[in-house]
C-alpha cells in the first residue's frame, strides 16, 4: 500500500464525525430510555449500534478502490438504483401510507437513500468530462437536469417528499457549484413564476392545497403537524441554557414528542443539553462541512472535487433542513439528522459518503505512478 494514501487520510473528519455520532447515541439512548429499560437486550439502541458497526465497515470498504473508477461505473449503478426505485414503487413495503422500503431476505432498505450518493457521483462524472467548462451552455445542462428529475419524480410518487427535497438540494448545489449563467437563472425564474398561480388554482385538488398550506404553516393543522411543532418547541425551549441533564427530559419520556428518535431527535438533545449543547452540535456540523470542503479544494481533479461537494451537500442540507424544521423555522418534511437520528439505510449512506470523501482525500496527489 502506498504510504501517501495513509498520510493523506484526513483524521480530523473522523474525529468530528465520531463526536457527532456520540451525541447521536446519547440522544437515542435518552429518547428510547423507557424501551431500553423494558428490554435491555433487544431494543432500537442496540440495533443502532449494529447499524453503526455496519456503517464503519462500509466506510472502510469504500476506501480501498480508486474513486476514479466510479467515473465509468456510475452510469450503471445509477441505472440500477433507479430501477430499484421503480421496483419499490411496484412491490415495495408500505409503511404509514408510503412505499419506500424494499425487503430482501428479512432485511429492509430504502433504495432512495442510496440514490442520494449515486446522483452526486453521476453528476460529478458528467460535469468533469472534457467538453464541459464551468458555466456550461444550456445544451450541456439538459442531461444533468434529466438525471435529477427522473429519480425525484419516482420518489415523489412513493410519496417521500423529504428524500425528493434532499435529491434536489444535492443536485442544485452541484449545478450551482459548476456555475449557472445569470441569464438561465433569470429565464427559469421568469417562466416558473407565472405558472405557479394557475397551477395552484386549477391543477391542485383542495386536499393537496391544504397539505401544502399545512407544510408552510403547521398551525393550520393543530392536531397533526401543529402538534409536533408545538411539542418540539416546548422540548427545545424547556432545555434553557444548560439543559435538564442527561435522561432528565420530560417531554420525551412522557411521549409528548412523536418520532422523537428519528426526525425529532434534535429536540431530545436540545431539551437535555440546552443551548450550550445545541451550539456544540451545530458547530460540530459546521466543522465537519468545512473539513469536507477543504478536501474538495485540495482534490487532485475536478471529478474528485465534485464528488466531495455532492457528499458535503448531502450532509449539509439534511442537517440544516432537519434542524430548521425541528426549531420551527422550516416546514415539517421527513428528513433525518445525519449521524444522529435513528435509522439504518440513512446511516449507511452517510458513512458511504464520508468514505468517498476520505477516498478523494487519500488520493489527492497528482503525480501518481502506478
Amino acid at each position: 500500500m502506498d504510504r501517501r494514501l495513509i498520510e493523506n487520510f484526513d483524521w480530523s473528519i473522523i474525529w468530528a464525525l465520531l463526536a457527532i455520532m456520540c451525541i447521536g447515541l446519547l440522544s437515542i439512548y435518552s429518547a428510547l430510555y423507557p424501551q431500553i429499560q423494558a428490554r435491555p437486550t433487544n431494543n432500537l439502541f442496540i440495533k443502532q449500534l449494529i447499524w453503526l458497526a455496519i456503517g464503519f465497515a462500509v466506510m472502510c470498504g469504500s476506501l480501498f478502490f480508486n474513486y476514479q473508477r466510479l467515473r465509468t461505473l456510475s452510469p450503471w449503478i445509477y441505472g440500477l438504483v433507479l430501477l430499484l426505485l421503480v421496483v419499490v414503487l411496484a412491490i415495495g413495503k408500505e409503511v404509514h401510507g408510503s412505499k419506500r422500503w424494499l425487503e430482501i431476505g428479512g432485511f429492509q432498505f430504502q433504495p432512495s437513500e442510496f440514490m442520494k450518493v449515486i446522483i452526486a457521483v453521476q453528476l460529478a462524472g458528467y460535469f468533469s468530462s472534457q467538453d464541459i467548462t464551468s458555466f456550461p451552455g444550456i445544451k450541456k445542462l439538459i442531461l444533468p437536469v434529466g438525471y435529477v428529475v427522473l429519480p425525484v419524480l419516482v420518489v415523489l410518487a412513493e410519496p417521500d417528499l423529504g428524500t425528493a427535497i434532499s435529491l434536489l438540494a444535492i443536485a442544485t448545489t452541484m449545478i450551482l457549484f459548476v456555475g449557472v449563467r445569470w441569464k438561465y437563472l433569470a429565464i427559469l425564474t421568469l417562466t416558473v413564476m407565472p405558472l405557479i398561480y394557475p397551477m395552484w388554482e386549477h391543477v391542485l385538488k383542495p386536499y393537496q392545497k391544504r397539505r401544502v398550506l399545512i407544510l408552510l404553516s403547521p398551525d393550520l393543522d393543530p392536531l397533526g403537524a401543529g402538534y409536533h411543532i408545538r411539542q418540539s418547541k416546548i422540548a427545545i425551549g424547556s432545555g434553557m441554557l444548560w439543559g435538564k441533564g442527561f435522561l432528565n427530559g420530560t417531554q420525551t419520556k412522557l411521549h409528548f414528542l412523536p418520532e422523537k428518535h428519528t426526525d425529532f431527535i434534535f429536540s431530545v438533545w436540545a431539551e437535555e443539553w440546552g443551548f450550550i449543547g445545541c451550539v456544540a452540535l451545530i458547530l460540530l456540523f459546521c466543522l465537519l462541512i468545512f473539513l469536507t470542503l477543504r478536501v474538495a479544494t485540495r482534490s487532485r481533479d475536478r471529478f474528485g472535487s465534485l464528488v466531495v461537494i455532492g457528499m458535503s451537500a448531502l450532509i449539509l442540507w439534511q442537517a440544516f433542513i432537519n434542524i430548521g424544521m425541528v426549531i420551527g423555522l422550516l416546514p415539517v418534511v421527513g428528513i433525518t439528522l445525519p449521524f444522529v437520528s435513528y435509522g439504518g439505510s440513512s446511516l449507511i449512506t452517510l458513512c458511504l459518503a464520508i468514505g468517498l470523501i476520505e477516498n478523494v482525500s487519500m488520493r489527492r496527489y497528482v503525480f501518481q505512478t502506478r
Binding site: 457549484f177 408545538r230 434553557m240 443551548f275 470542503l293
Partner: protein, 625 residues
C-alpha cells in the same frame, strides 16, 4: 498509446488544478458564507427559544401538558317534507380514563364500577386488552352512560384524577322503526371500509350509514370532524384550549316523505307482511314508503350483539328486507292495464274488439282458467279491465306476443331499476324471448305468453315500480324517477341544494288509449272488482291484483284449494290506485304478502292512505267533475 493518453490526462489535470482553484474559489466562499449565515440564524433562533423564552417553555413542560382531543361532527338531521325531524342527534356520554394520570388504577376502576353499577372485571378486561397502547391514550371504559350513572360520576370526578366524561353526538331515531327501510341505520365502519377509496379521511370507530338514505347520502350527512389542542394540568384537567378546529356539521336533508302519511301507511300494515309506497304522480316525489315488518334502528346504534344479529337475520319474516323497492313479486292482475295499453297502441285490439270468455282458455291441451268460474261472456277491453277478465288478456297477450308486450311494458319502468338511489334495489323482471334463451337455454314457449299476460309466470315487479308505472298512466305517460330527498341544507342559510324532479321518459302512447284505460281504472272502483272501497267524495281509480304463490294444478277446484291451503301459501294481495281519478295527486301501491284477494286485503289499505293524504291537503271533492 495508453500510457501516452495517461500522460496527457495528467498534464491536463495540472492545467485544471491551476485554473479551477481560481474559477471555483468564488463558489467555495459562497458555500461557506451560506453555511455560516444559516448557522447564525439557527443560533439566534435557539437563543430566543431556549434563553429568552426558556423559562416559559420550562414551565409549560413541567406543569402543563398538551393533549389532542377530537371533536366529532354532528351528523346531518333528516326532516320530513314539512320539517318534522325524523332522525336527530342526541348527546351520548362515554366514560374515559387516561391511565397515566391515575395513581391507583385498581382502586379507581373499582370505584367507577361501583358508580356505574357494573362488574369491575368488565373494566379490567378492557384495560388488560389495551395493555400495549401508550398510557397517555384515552381509554373508553363504558359507552353511552345513563343519566343516573353520569350524575354519580360527575359528582365524584374531582377526587378521581384521570377520569373523564367524553361527549359525543349520537344518532337518535325519533320514531324508531318508522320508515326504517327508507331512512336506514348506522353502524361502525369496518376495517375494509376504512381502507376503501370511498371512506378516505374516516377514522376507526366512526359510525357510517349502512343502508337506506343514511348510506346513500353519507357524504352529505357525515360532516367533518374537528379537534382541539388542550393544555392540561398534572392531574389531566383542562387548563385552557390552545388551538381549536371546530367540526363542520353534516348537511341536513329534507325528505319528500310526509310523516303523518307514513304513519298512516304503517298503521295499515300493522300485523301484516308487505309494503305500501305512495308517490306524487306529478313529479315522482315519494310521499310514504312503508315496509312491514320493520326493525329497531336504535339497536344498531347501541351496537348489535352477535345473538341479536343472528335472531334478526334469521327471522323468517325478514324484517331487514326493504319490501318497497328491494323485493319483487309477480304483479298479478295489476299488470293488465299495461298489457291493454300495449295491445291498443300496437293495434292488436281496438276499444270495440271483443273476445268470448267461457271461464277458461284452451291452448295446446291445457286449459287456462279465468278467476270467474262461469266466464264473463263476450267482453271488450274496458269491461275486461273493470272486471279483471283473465281470458280476455290471455287472448290479447297471445296475439300481442311476448316481445312486443315487454317492449311496451318496460317503457313504464317495469323490469328496470327506478333509480331512487337506495342500495339493493331490485330491478324486477319483464321476460322477453331473448332473455329466456339466455337465462335458461330453453326457447320461449307460447303457453308462457299466456301466463305473463295476467302478470304471472316470470313477471316480477317491485311495489315502487308499480307506483311509478300507475303514476305514469294517471298523468298520461310521464314516467318520473322517484326521489326521496328534496332539499340538502348546508351549514349556512344560503347553502341549500334543491333536488329537481327528473322525468325519465315521456311514454309514446296515444292519449285516447290513456283515456280509455284511465276510464276503466276508475270503473274498477266505481263498479268493478274494487267496488268495496268506493268513496263518494274522492273518486279513486286503481286495479286489484291477486298474485298466485303456488302453481294451481290444471283443473283444480280453486275455491276448495283456497280453503285447504295454509296461510303461507295464500296469494299475495295487490292494489294500486291513484286519486282523484281525473287529476291524480297521489298514487299508492300496496302489497300484502299472502293476504289473499287484492280487493279485500290490499284495496282498503290504499283507500285509507289516499283519504288521509287528500284530507290533509284539503281536497274538497270538487276538483273532479
Amino acid at each position: 498509446m495508453k500510457t501516452k493518453s495517461n500522460k496527457f490526462d495528467g498534464l491536463k489535470l495540472i492545467n485544471w488544478e491551476n485554473q479551477e482553484s481560481i474559477s471555483f474559489q468564488k463558489q467555495y466562499i459562497l458555500i461557506s458564507a451560506v453555511v455560516l449565515l444559516i448557522t447564525m440564524v439557527y443560533l439566534v433562533r435557539l437563543w430566543h427559544l431556549q434563553v429568552i423564552l426558556g423559562q416559559s417553555y420550562r414551565f409549560q413542560s413541567e406543569n402543563n401538558r398538551i393533549r389532542v382531543e377530537e371533536i366529532a361532527a354532528p351528523r346531518g338531521i333528516i326532516f320530513d317534507r314539512n320539517g318534522v325531524p325524523i332522525v336527530e342527534n342526541r348527546p351520548a356520554y362515554h366514560l374515559v380514563i387516561i391511565r397515566e394520570d391515575i395513581s391507583d388504577l385498581e382502586g379507581t376502576i373499582n370505584e367507577l364500577a361501583r358508580l356505574c353499577e357494573r362488574n369491575p372485571d368488565e373494566f379490567f378486561s378492557i384495560v388488560e386488552a389495551n395493555k400495549t397502547t401508550p398510557k397517555f391514550v384515552p381509554l373508553r371504559l363504558a359507552s353511552d352512560l345513563d343519566r343516573d350513572c353520569l350524575a354519580r360520576i360527575e359528582a365524584q370526578r374531582i377526587r378521581l384524577p384521570g377520569v373523564f366524561i367524553q361527549l359525543e353526538p349520537k344518532r337518535e331515531y325519533k320514531w324508531n322503526g318508522t320508515a326504517a327501510h327508507l331512512v336506514g341505520y348506522l353502524s361502525e365502519i369496518t376495517e375494509a371500509e376504512l381502507r376503501s377509496e370511498k371512506y378516505q379521511g374516516y377514522y376507526s370507530g366512526e359510525d357510517i350509514g349502512k343502508v337506506g338514505i343514511e348510506s346513500a347520502f353519507e357524504k352529505y350527512l357525515h360532516g367533518t370532524r374537528g379537534g382541539r389542542q388542550l393544555e392540561v394540568d398534572a392531574a389531566g384537567r383542562r387548563v385552557r384550549v390552545l388551538e381549536e378546529e371546530l367540526p363542520i356539521a353534516g348537511r341536513n336533508l329534507w325528505l319528500t316523505l310526509d310523516m303523518d302519511l307514513q304513519k298512516t301507511a304503517e298503521a295499515q300494515l300493522e300485523g301484516k307482511t308487505g309494503a305500501i309506497v305512495a308517490v306524487d304522480p306529478t313529479d315522482g316525489a315519494v310521499l310514504a314508503f312503508a315496509c312491514s315488518p320493520s326493525y329497531d334502528q336504535e339497536k344498531f346504534i347501541r351496537g348489535l350483539t352477535k345473538d341479536e344479529w343472528i335472531v334478526l337475520s334469521k327471522d323468517p319474516s325478514h324484517p331487514l328486507l326493504n319490501r318497497g323497492s328491494g323485493a319483487a313479486y309477480p304483479p298479478g292482475s295489476t299488470y293488465k292495464p299495461f298489457v291493454a295499453l300495449a295491445a291498443l297502441q300496437e293495434g292488436v285490439i281496438n276499444p270495440t274488439s271483443t273476445f268470448t270468455c267461457p271461464g277458461y282458455f284452451q291452448f295446446a291441451d291445457r286449459s287456462y282458467r279465468c278467476w270467474k268460474e262461469h266466464g264473463h261472456g263476450t267482453i271488450a277491453v274496458e269491461r275486461a279491465l273493470v272486471e279483471s277478465c283473465d281470458v280476455f288478456f290471455y287472448q290479447t297477450g297471445f296475439k300481442l306476443g311476448v316481445d312486443r308486450m315487454a317492449q311496451c311494458v318496460t317503457m313504464f319502468g317495469l323490469g328496470e331499476r327506478t333509480g331512487i338511489g337506495l342500495q339493493g334495489e331490485h330491478p324486477g323482471l319483464i321476460p322477453t324471448s331473448w332473455w329466456k334463451k339466455q337465462a335458461t337455454g330453453i326457447p320461449w314457449q307460447k303457453g308462457e305468453t299466456i301466463s305473463i299476460s295476467i302478470g304471472q309466470g316470470f313477471d316480477l315487479v317491485t311495489p315502487l315500480q308499480m307506483a311509478m308505472g300507475y303514476a305514469a298512466i294517471s298523468n298520461n305517460g310521464n314516467l318520473w324517477q322517484p326521489y326521496v330527498v328534496k332539499k340538502i341544507e348546508g351549514s349556512s342559510a344560503d347553502e341549500i341544494d334543491e333536488v329537481k324532479p327528473h322525468l325519465k321518459r315521456k311514454i309514446p302512447i296515444d292519449q285516447r288509449w290513456f283515456d280509455l284505460v284511465k276510464k276503466a281504472l276508475a270503473g274498477v272502483v266505481e263498479r268493478g272488482t274494487g267496488h268495496l272501497i268506493r268513496d263518494p267524495l274522492i273518486p279513486i281509480a286503481g286495479k286489484t291484483g291477486t298474485a298466485q304463490v303456488v302453481h294451481v294444478a290444471q283443473g283444480a277446484n280453486r275455491k276448495l284449494l283456497e280453503k285447504l291451503t295454509k296461510m303461507k301459501d295464500k296469494d299475495h294481495a295487490w292494489f294500486i290506485g291513484y286519486a282523484p281519478a281525473s287529476d291524480a295527486r297521489i298514487c299508492v301501491a300496496a302489497i300484502v304478502e299472502h293476504g289473499g284477494h287484492g280487493a279485500s286485503a290490499a284495496a282498503p289499505l290504499v283507500k285509507n292512505v289516499i283519504q288521509a293524504y287528500l284530507k290533509d291537503i284539503h281536497y274538497d271533492g270538487q276538483a273532479s267533475d
